[in-house]
Every structure is written in structure tokens, then in C-alpha cells.
Amino acid sequence: MRTHRTHQTIAPWSIGTPVTDPARLAVVRIEPVLRQRRPAFVLDFCVADARGMTIVPLVLADPATVAERDRDPLVFPAGMPGGDDFAAGLAERILPHLERLVLGGRQVFEHAVMFEDSPSFEAARDAGCFGAAPLRDALARLGPYFYARRFSHGRAVYLDAPDAVGGWALLRTSGTVMVAAARRDVAALAWYGPAPSAAGAPGAAEVAVVAGDADPGAAACVLRLDAGGARLAQTAGHVVEVIDPVPLDVGITFDPPEGPACRWFVVERAAEPRLRSVPPPHPTPIQGSSGRIVVLMGRADAGPRPSSDSDEARALIDALAAEGFDALLAESPDELAGADLVHVIGTRDGRRARAAVEAARRAGIPCAVHAYEEDAADGGWWGAEVARYCFEYGDDERDVQTYLAMLAQRAVAVGAARADGPYAPPEAGVDDAAAALRDASIVFAATEEEAGAVRARSGRRGPVTVVPPLAPAAMPQPIGALTGPDPFVLVHAPIGPLANQLLVARCASDAGIPLVLAGPVADASYLERVREFGGPRLVVLADEPAPGVAAALRFAAAVVVDAAWIGEGGARLAAAALAGARIAVADRRRFTVPGVAPRRFDPADATALRRALGEAWDEALRSPARAAPETAAALAPDSVVRAIARGYASIASPSVP
């Protein structure tokens, strides 16, 4: 039997005695969907007899395999009861129908194939229940409950809203869920099972999902649903849109760019996660400096897709301004006119960095470069290019495991991207980046090791100054409505192949660790894969969070992970270290700070990543940390800024002191 562990919504379930005799197959619902942007079928099986009923939802089928039969066309969800014989028996019964659909040459629409009369199924279908109704409808109904997963873990949950029985089915594995008596819809109960009834008021519920003006009691966390599809007029609380799903690639999401909203709800109250203590504010700057410093990002998409490098640039500009400099961020290397000094942050886009350095030289302007040197051609670009294929190339769990094992052995190659030699795509401009590092007036590196690498790679003879990353800082804002009150693992980076979130999400899901991914979306299809494989405890905060939210995420996160194939400097890791989070970091990353012992792992090795994640998580829960004094001293922003200013002074024209 082929299985998958994707799109985990509600696992197969039974009511009464499980029925695992394929001869008792009652109904199969078939729906064309997009899986990894290719057409696929989703099948929901309902098997029933007088003693009970078993529902197996989200069975995946590739249409071409239905005809070609080079392997079993049906891929069953993890937790499939009955074993191989049951699965094979179900397949045998439905495959002739699927063959007709595939070979027939007509457009396939969502439909149900009835093998036996099944009033439960028909009622459930009418009621929009998951496994019986079209996914677009069923997922939208479950949306608010899906969101409530982040609040419900290990808590008493009270549901008094439409589709509450479906909500119970979704949440029952994470909390103790009760359904208001009036919401115990007969059709849904017959389909999902006997949801426990709340005797009356919400009582001691810690989480309440209610509709209209229903009373949530004293629950610390309250979700209030729309009434009749209208957007709530209420503005108190955090309004969340449920996006009209395009199953399966766009399932249950709350990310407005994914599509139009089909319903709304409000997180009316939410307990905040416990934040570690916030360090004292920056010391007062010395001031008295002057000169115009133009800061330019070493990658063109830093504006729309901010990351650690843009945080560092922003922090630097603010700090320089506080020191008295006229510091500003330029959009392109063409905007250097009037600068007394140019500071390029990173060399990801080598051509851009080189153009800036050369433009500065031509204009006689001294130029500083933050190197972020980690020899991306030595496996970084390879990993960024091939890792996603390990999740996309096959379509069942064994395929994924096989390819991940190959990835760990660096045996995966896609086109020119191979692990057995240097590889970088032409657009990386590796040689240009080296030239920029060679020709800059001064280069800043985060560690001695990085400084050595800069010299070795570029042949640079000029100064390379070691300066710790400049951590961004902001006052934390409330995040309880976004993350829930429990600790979590955080990855804060643009969501895309470079940052390797897919492997982190897979490993966190394997380990049952809650994961928050925050950052702008660099690649939407990659985000779809992250959701596909991320498991039920994944929270995606697509788009860049406000600085205060980002700060709160760092202060609340038990562990901050940076598994990126190609990093963008260490500013966010430095901020996480200052916030006292445990750190797990890819062994490619040159991040060394006194008082911080990060868990290191090979970003290609899922086993190593899972282990590092688990160890850091256990450690964080066992002994919550705070930044060590030596860490705070090493990363103190004022000392970092002054070190940079000294570097400026060493190369500056007379107008820069």
C-alpha cells in the first residue's frame, strides 16, 4: 500500500466498529484537484455495515498512473486502517470507474460513486462534511477550527458555531473538545462520530469557538465566527480571512494574496505566549558624526522580500542616523550620487554588488561591503535547487524518504546542480561577487573564519574587519492571536528554496513540534509544498511581520532555526540569541557568538535536522534560557555600530570623520 503524509486535515476515522471489508464499500467521492500544480484526483472512501462505518478521506490518485499502472494508482493517507489487503480491495473496486474517467476524454467533475445506499453519506454531503462534500466547501467550513489548532493543544475547547461537529473531528486529537448541544447536527454526528455535548455554558473551556453573539464564557482564547457569511462588523480582535480553497494546493489558508476570502472570523481574545525578558534599551549614541552614507542591498529583491540582511541594513541606517550620519537606503547601484561612502550589504547578486563597488570606485567614493561569505557554490546553491525535488519527484511517503536519504548522501542531482563539485547558477554572479569583495575599500565579516574565507576566495589584500552582526531591535507586539500561547520553533526568512523551510517543516512535523514560519513569500509553489508536508502544527505567517511582531516571535520562540542553504547574514540569529532563544543552525552558517552554543546540523540531512531540532526543543522546554551576559556584550548594538564606524573612518574621504 502506498501512503502519504500530506495535507493532514482529518485522518481516517471510524464510527462504531471499524469496517475493513472492501466488499462493504458504500461510496467513493471523487474530485479533481491540483496537486503540486498538476491535475490529480482526491478520493474519499466510505465503507459501512450494520455495525459501523469507516471513512478514508484524501486518497490521492495520479490520473496517468490509473491508465499506465506502473504502480498502485491510489496513495492512501497515513493512518489507513485495514492494511494492504483492504487498500488493494478498495482499489480493485474503484479502479474500473477511474479508468473510464481517465480514458473517456471528458472533463471530470466532482461526483460520488454509490456502491450501496448510504443515507449518512448523502446527509453529510448536504451538510458540507469533510470526506463527503466537495473540498472547496468542506475545507472552508473547517477553516476557523483549523486556525484554532494553534490554541487548542492540550486544552479544553468549547465549540458553539456552525460545523462544530466537524471542528470537533479536526481538534479532537489536540485538545478536549465539547460541542454545544444546539450545534450537534444530526447529519454531522452520524458522519464524524459522537461529539461530546457540552451540558450548557462553556464552563471551564480555555478555548472557545463561537458564532454570532454566543457566550464564550471565560475562555482565554475566543474565536468568533461570521454569521451567515457576512464579514463581522466588529473590529476588536484580530480579523482572519478564510481563503476560498483551490484544493489541494491551496487548502485551508488565511493568507489574503492566495485568493478571495470566503468567510471571516475574529480572534476576539487570545492568550499571549510567555516572552522572555526584554533587554534594556540601547545606550544613547555618542553622536557628532556627519557624512552621507548610502546603503545598498546586495540583492535586488531585498525590498519586497526583506530578510536578515535587510534587517541589518535597516538597523545600521537607524544607528548611523542616531550617530549623526545622513544614512539612506538606495534602490540600485545607479543611486550613489552625493554619497560620501557606500555600504553594500551582502553579495548574493554578485553582479549587483560588483556594479556598486565599481560605481563607487569610479566616483571616488569609498565603499564598504558586508560579505556574508559562506561559499554558496560549495553546496548552497545545489541544495537550494534540488531539495524541493525530493518532495516533488515522487508522490508517496516512501519516495519522499528515499529521496531525502539520497539528499543526505548528496546523491541528488538536477540538471547542472550536482553536489560533487562547485555549482552556482549564472545569475548568482559568483565571480562578480568575488571581485566586489576584492575591490571594496573595506570588507566586514562576522567571524575570523569568514574573514579568512573572504581573503581566500577573492584574493583580497585590503582590510577585512570582523564585526558581529547588528541585531535588529523593536518593542514586542502582541502575537497570541497569530501563534497561540504555546512555545514554538521559529523560522523567520523569505519563504522559498534558499531558506530550506520545507525540510524544517517536514522534520518538525515528524517530531510533533509546533513550527511558526514567518517571512515574505519568495516562491508560492514552495509555500504550497511547505503546507503540504508541514503537518498539523505548522503556522505560516506569510509576508514579512512588522518589526514588533518579529521581535515578539523571537522572544516567544523556544527555538529559532536557520536551516538556509544560502544565508543572508547573521542579524536575525544575533537577535534571537539576544532574545534568549535556543538556536539550531545549519553547519554552513558562520555564526559564532560568545555564550551561544547552537545546535548544528547538515541542512541536507533530515535526520540530523530532526535531531538538532528535538534536542534544542527539549532543552528549551527543560530550562528556558535568557541571553548570557557575554552574548549581550558581544552583540551589543552600540559596540557593533562603533566598530563599523571605525571601519568607515579607516577608509573615508575627508568629509567622513
Binding site: D70, Q107, P257, G394, A522
Partner: protein
């Protein structure tokens, strides 16, 4: 002609400014619509974010704009690729009724601009010239959905949507953050059901290329653009000659014939199952270019589509496109008329799980194929202990209805005693061929089972392996051959991820794989292990094992290539793991022979060319070239590899000088370390290198002769004996030596 430019952020109108009556910076659909409403020009130039017209983009533009021009697009250049738009392909199994198939080519590809010029489903997004009236209402925010909507509006208004490749711009690459596109396209499809499946490639493109789905190793499928394979058009009925002349313009790689007997002509064209198409059409129903293009697209919509017709009625032979290579070789277009011939193909398609794409056609249900009985041909050429072990496993794996034929050298007495222990085994001795090809072919030719399992005696079948191989034939359509997974094998059946220390561990792993990889098969184009189950009907089409190679790795590779070329699938069954003993352990003559051959490689071109039945290998040697009685015998003693190479040179010269009709026989006498299998494997290809069939080639006997003197004295009286120069032996002293270059003189009268 002047236009208003709506410039998105980051775009640069460049040369277009000179032709613009106004340049309006716009950001977002609402502002664009408002700007369009405010402008007075008939045409509006839309510049996408980051776009800039290329020099010459507007040259001759006015001449391209007619009254019916609604949307004009061009080439949008990003990096080394120029995009020209999309076609809307039907997507039958998708929640969206269409799929956007990009029309793009590497920059500078010769001839591409000529092919993409003209009508197109959806223009590229970089720079678009559109009739202002189409822009009055906001377009979707997603740029691709906006282009689809804009082009649909133009068609609704009765206006043209065209691609003018020189109307080109440089632009930034498509944003990988395309969130919302799927939802936007779905909304569009719901609003415009008429968009469904227009699927119109630009005419020039459609004439030159088709999009074909290919399966990559591991199962992932993707569509690739390939040149249109050869097309044969058979026009029949009254007016066929005239219609055939008209049809000549349908595709570049086309042959057209007016035929009197369409069924026979179809059969003739399907004789070789090469990659290509046959269009069978009545004179009054020859499709136009668009209709033909639609048929091509229909047949290439999936790799399992075998026939396409404009409608179900046309399947009576009035207009039907056939992909011969998608029918395995034993399927014939049977029947006296076009209608019956096509009907037989349609029926076969249903049985083979091949699709027929013809609107209105409903395929008949066919019962699933049953698991078939087998004839097991056991090739015994190894040490008897190994043969005994593997034979036991084969007998255990067989079913009571199976037939087992053991093939072994006539003189292998120990092996024959082992075989005699199993009364159900029929023994087919081979008295002259150390590679057993002749006896194996006799056994295959006489097989009663619907499947023929060819199992060499150095292959150990764990329990259930044979059953899983035969199960594959009940599951996989048009399956010609199924190999087990063979650790370390050099063909597609080889697997590398299996390690075991002994046979007990192998059996354990095999049992686990039977569960974890149940019903998993990998299509392959190359197989080399003599452990394979072949459909008898496939054997009948392609014939037996090539005697030139025998069941060596080259012989099995040749068999697989013929099967593939004849339209059969060949797979590795990953749930059937077997062990092949190393040649040093088994001492198999067949395995030893492998070392004398170059490692075979898959030949995709040969497969695409198809299998010509004239190349069929007869199961029993033909009598066309009866061997003459030998009056001259040339001894070629071979004791070591060096001598074997020298013998190959000599045999090559002899094969050029003589054929089967000559009264000359070469006796390769093995008196050293070289075995007969290796020798046969080395010399057979030499005999057939000129394309001559082995049966028509010079007679060469390979014999192990420990006592050359005894061999000499046993020669028939009256036979003149020689020894090959360089191969002299003391026991053969006195025999005249003959060099390769003097072989031509051998049969000349010699004065006594």
C-alpha cells in the same frame, strides 16, 4: 498610429514614448481601467512591471493593426528565453478546465519567430497593445489571469488576438510569488465557460512541434516539445487523388497517398510500429490545418491515447488519426474495410487500456485480463550444484498448469540427471550451441503458455517472485516483458540499493520488498539479465533470441530493444527481487560469454524507428540457406584470450570469404582456459557483422577438445583439413596452414 501607454511600476516606455500620445503611470487593475477610460486613443500599450520595449519593436506596427485587431502581443524576453504567450490546453482531470501551456523558445532559436507569428490563445504579459474598449473594466490583479481575461474579452468582441514576435520587450522574470493565480484562473473559468480547451498553438508552432508527455525514471511526468513525428496520410474514396494533393500541406514531415484499399494500406503502414502517425481519411473528410492540429493535440494529450478523431462517427474510417507505436505489434488493423479495420483498433485499444479521443465516443467496458499460464524455459549452463539449487526454486515457483522446459547442452550429463528428477520437466537438448540459443528458441516457439519465462540457471528466484512477474501482465497494458529487480545488473533491471550477505538475507529482503514495493514497476528500455517473463504474443511478433548473441546480456538487450520497438512495454518489477550468482561461482557459459561482449546501451532511436517484421528471428532456423556438406575443415585451436582474438580476425575473414553454402567448416577447438560460451559470444557477432543472418553465415563449430589428435583422427574421411595460421599445434602437424588473406584460394583446385 499613436497610442496611450499605461506603464506599470518599474517599466520603461523607451522608444514607445515617441509614438505615445500620453504615458500614464498605473499601479493595479482599477487605476489601469480608469486610465483606459480616460484616454482617447484606440489602442493602449500595457507595459508590465520591469518591461522595456526592445529596439525595433514598433517598426511596421501600423501595418499589423487592422480593424479586427483586439490584442497584439509579442516576445517577452527574460534572460535567455523569449516567451510568446500561452495556449489554453484542455485539462480533463483538473479543477480548472484548461491548462496554460507556455509558448517559449531560447533566445535566438532559428525560425521560431516565423512559427509563432499569428493567432494565439493568450499573449505574453510583458508588453501588450490592446484595443482600449477591452480595458474599460478592471482586469484581474494577477498578470497571467489578466492576459487570459483580456484575450477572452477580445474574442468575445469578435476581435483578433495575435502574436507579432518582433513586437518584443525585455522584462523581468515571472514572479515566483504567484499566490492567487490559481484562484484567479478558476474565477475566470467559472465566469467564462467558453474558455475551456481552446488549445490552439500558433499555427506555425503546431506545424513544427507537438507537446508530448514523457515519464521520467521514478514516475514523474512532464510535457516536452518534440518535432512533429512523421505523418502518413491515407486518403480513400472518390476524389482521393485531389484530396491527397490538398492534404500535402498539413504538416512538414508528411507523406500522402491516395489509396484504393484503405484497410490494407493502414495495415501496411502499421507493419512497422515506429513513432509517427497515420491519418486515415475519406476524400471529403480530410481535415484542414486546424483540424489536423487538433487531432495531433488530442492524440498527444496523454501517452496512452492511441486514436483520435474529430467525432465518434469519424471512427468509421472517415477521419481518424492513429499512433501505431501505441499499439503493440500483435494488434492488427483487421478487416476488409476502413470501418472494420479502425473498429478492430478501437476494440483493441479498450482491451489495452488505451484511450480513443473522439467527442461522443464511449468505450466499451472490457473485463480485466486474467493472470496467464506460463511456459518456463530454464537455461541450464552453469555448474550442476548451482543449477540444482535454482531449478528447485523455479519448480517451487511454478504452478501446476505451467509447462517447464529445460534447455541444456546435449553432453551435460550431470545436469540432465538433475533434470530427470523432475518428471514434469521436458528437456530440450542443444547439441551444437554452447549458448543454447537454438534449443531455447525451439522451446519458446513451441511454448503453450501465454507467458514465457526465460530463466537462466544462475538466477535464484525467491518465493513468489515469478508470480509477481506474471501478475504484472494482468495489470500493465501492452506489457511485453517483465524483469525482476536484479541487484547489480547492468540494465534497467539492475538495482543498487539492495545489500545482503547471504541467500537467507536475500530472501528476507525479497519478502519485505514484496510488501513495501507491491505492484511497483519501472519502465525500462534496456534489460540484460536472462531472467525475464515475456508475453508469448510478443515473442511471436519479434521472434526468438538472436542466435548471434544467444541469451547473453547482449542477446537479452537485443530482445528488449525489439520488444520496445514493436510497441511493447518492458518493466522492472520492483516487488520481485532475485539473485544472480556471479560468473566465477556459477561457471555459467552464458554469463562467461558476457565478458566477450561490449556492454549494451539503450538505443532510443532504434526504438523510435520501430520493429520491422522482416527482422523477426525465426524460432527454428530457416531452410533458405541449407548448409552444404563440408569438404574442407579448418581447425582453429584456441587456448587463451589472445588466441581467441586472433581467431576472431580469422573467422571474420572466413565469413567474408564463405557463407553457409560453401563446403567449408571452421572448427574452433578449445584446448585451454577459454570456454565455449565465451568463444561463441565473441565469434557470433563477427559472423553476422555484415547484416547476414547467422543461419546464412559460414558454419563455425565451437567445441571443447582436450585431445586434438583424437579430434584429427575422427575427421570424416575425404574432408580436407587445414589449420589456421598462427594457431598451429603439434598434434596438428602436417596440416596445411591457411592465413586469412589466402582463404579465397581455399576452394581452388589444387594440382596433386
Amino acid at each position: 498610429m499613436r497610442f496611450t501607454i499605461l506603464a506599470a511600476p518599474g517599466s520603461d516606455p523607451g522608444d514607445a514614448r515617441a509614438r505615445a500620445s500620453a504615458v500614464v503611470a498605473v499601479d493595479g487593475p482599477e487605476r489601469s481601467a480608469a486610465a483606459a477610460r480616460a484616454c482617447a486613443d484606440r489602442f493602449v500599450l500595457l507595459l508590465a512591471p520591469g518591461s522595456r520595449p526592445l529596439p525595433g519593436a514598433f517598426g511596421g506596427l501600423s501595418a499589423s493593426l487592422g480593424d479586427r485587431t483586439g490584442v497584439l502581443g509579442g516576445g517577452s524576453q527574460t534572460g535567455g528565453v523569449r516567451a510568446y504567450g500561452w495556449m489554453l490546453a484542455p485539462a480533463l482531470w483538473s479543477p480548472l478546465p484548461f491548462e496554460l501551456v507556455p509558448i517559449a523558445a531560447p533566445l535566438g532559436e532559428a525560425g521560431v519567430e516565423g512559427r509563432v507569428r499569428g493567432p494565439v490563445d493568450v499573449v505574453a504579459t510583458g508588453m501588450i497593445l490592446a484595443d482600449r474598449r477591452l480595458l474599460l473594466e478592471p482586469l484581474p490583479a494577477d498578470p497571467v489571469a489578466a492576459a487570459v481575461e483580456l484575450c477572452a474579452r477580445a474574442r468575445d468582441a469578435g476581435l483578433d488576438v495575435v502574436c507579432r514576435p518582433s513586437f518584443a520587450c525585455a522584462t523581468v522574470g515571472g514572479d515566483a510569488d504567484d499566490r492567487g493565480r490559481a484562484a484567479a484562473l478558476r474565477a475566470l473559468a467559472e465566469r467564462r465557460p467558453g474558455l475551456c480547451g481552446r488549445h490552439r498553438m500558433p499555427p506555425g508552432f503546431a506545424r513544427a512541434a507537438v507537446d508530448r508527455e514523457v515519464r521520467l525514471a521514478g514516475g514523474r511526468r512532464l510535457r516536452v516539445r518534440v518535432p512533429v513525428p512523421p505523418v502518413a496520410v491515407l486518403v480513400h474514396g472518390a476524389g482521393a487523388e485531389l484530396a491527397a494533393r490538398r492534404a500535402a500541406e498539413l504538416a512538414p514531415n508528411l507523406t500522402v497517398r491516395a489509396v484504393g484499399d484503405p484497410a490494407a494500406a493502414l495495415r501496411d503502414h502499421m507493419r512497422v510500429r515506429r513513432d509517427g502517425y497515420v491519418l486515415l481519411a475519406a476524400a471529403g473528410h480530410v481535415p484542414d490545418a486546424a483540424g489536423f492540429s487538433a487531432l495531433l493535440e488530442a492524440i498527444e494529450s496523454a501517452p496512452f491515447v492511441a486514436l483520435a478523431a474529430p467525432d465518434a462517427a469519424a471512427l468509421d474510417g472517415t477521419c481518424v488519426l492513429v499512433a501505431p507505436a501505441r499499439f503493440p505489434g500483435h494488434i492488427e488493423a483487421a478487416g476488409p474495410t476502413a470501418a472494420t479495420a479502425v473498429a478492430s483498433l478501437v476494440a483493441a485499444a479498450a482491451a489495452l487500456r488505451r484511450a480513443v479521443r473522439a467527442p461522443g465516443f464511449v468505450a466499451a467496458d472490457t473485463p480485466p485480463p486474467a493472470v496467464r499460464g506460463a511456459t518456463i524455459v530454464f537455461l541450464a549452463s552453469s555448474d550442476p550444484e548451482i543449477a540444482k539449487l535454482t531449478l528447485g526454486a523455479v519448480v517451487e515457483s511454478s504452478r501446476s498448469s505451467d509447462e517447464i522446459v529445460a534447455v541444456c547442452p546435449t553432453g551435460a550429463q550431470t545436469t540432465r540427471r538433475i533434470l530427470a528428477a523432475y518428471p514434469q520437466i521436458h528437456v530440450e537438448p542443444d547439441d551444437g550451441d554452447p549458448l543454447l540459443a537454438h534449443a531455447a528458441n525451439r522451446a519458446i516457439g513451441a511454448a503453450r503458455g501465454a507467458l514465457v519465462a526465460l530463466i537462466a540457471d544462475d538466477v535464484l528466484l525467491p518465493t513468489g517472485a515469478l508470480d509477481r512477474l506474471r501478475d504484472a501482465f494482468a495489470r500493465i497494458p501492452a506489457l511485453g516483458a517483465a524483469f525482476p529487480a536484479v541487484p547489480g545488473a547492468g540494465g534497467g533491471e539492475g538495482v543498487v540499493d539492495v545489500r545482503y550477505a547471504d541467500l537467507a538475507q536475500l530472501r528476507t529482503i525479497a519478502e519485505q520488498r514484496a510488501g513495501t514495493r507491491a505492484r511497483e514497476a519501472e519502465p525500462i528500455d534496456l534489460g540484460v539479465t536472462p531472467a525475464v517473463v515475456v508475453a508469448r504474443e510478443a515473442f511471436e511478433v519479434i521472434g526468438g533470441i538472436a542466435p548471434a548473441f544467444g541469451p547473453t546480456r547482449r542477446g537479452i538487450a537485443d530482445l528488449v530493444q525489439r520488444l520496445r520497438a514493436a510497441g511493447y512495454a518492458v518493466v522492472r518489477c520492483d516487488d520481485a527481487l532475485v539473485h544472480r550468482f556471479e560468473a566465477q561461482i556459477s561457471h555459467s557459459m552464458i554469463a562467461a560469454a558476457d565478458d566477450q561482449q561490449p556492454a549494451p546501451v539503450a538505443d532510443a532511436a532504434a526504438i523510435a524507428r520501430g520493429f520491422d517484421p522482416a527482422q523477426r528471428v525465426p524460432f527454428v532456423p530457416s531452410m533458405a540457406s541449407p548448409r552444404a556438406g563440408a569438404s574442407h575443415a579448418i581447425a582453429v585451436p584456441v587456448g587463451n584470450p589472445l588466441e581467441l582474438e586472433r581467431a576472431a580476425v580469422f573467422v571474420a575473414a572466413a565469413a567474408r570469404a564463405f557463407d553457409a553454402r560453401a563446403p567449408v567448416r571452421v572448427h574452433v577447438l578449445l584446448d585451454g582456459s577459454i570456454g565455449p560460451g565465451e568463444t561463441a559470444a565473441r565469434l557470433r557477432p563477427v559472423l553476422t557483422s555484415g547484416g547476414r543472418a547467422i543461419d546464412a553465415a559460414l558454419a563455425v563449430r565451437v567445441e571443447r577438445v582436450p585431445d586434438l589428435a583424437a579430434w584429427r583422427s575422427a575427421l570424416e574421411p575425404g574432408v580436407r583439413a587445414f589449420v589456421a595460421a598462427g594457431h598451429e599445434r603439434a598434434e596438428l602437424a602436417g596440416l596445411p596452414a591457411v592465413a586469412p588473406e589466402t582463404l579465397g584460394n581455399l576452394l581452388r583446385p589444387v594440382p596433386r
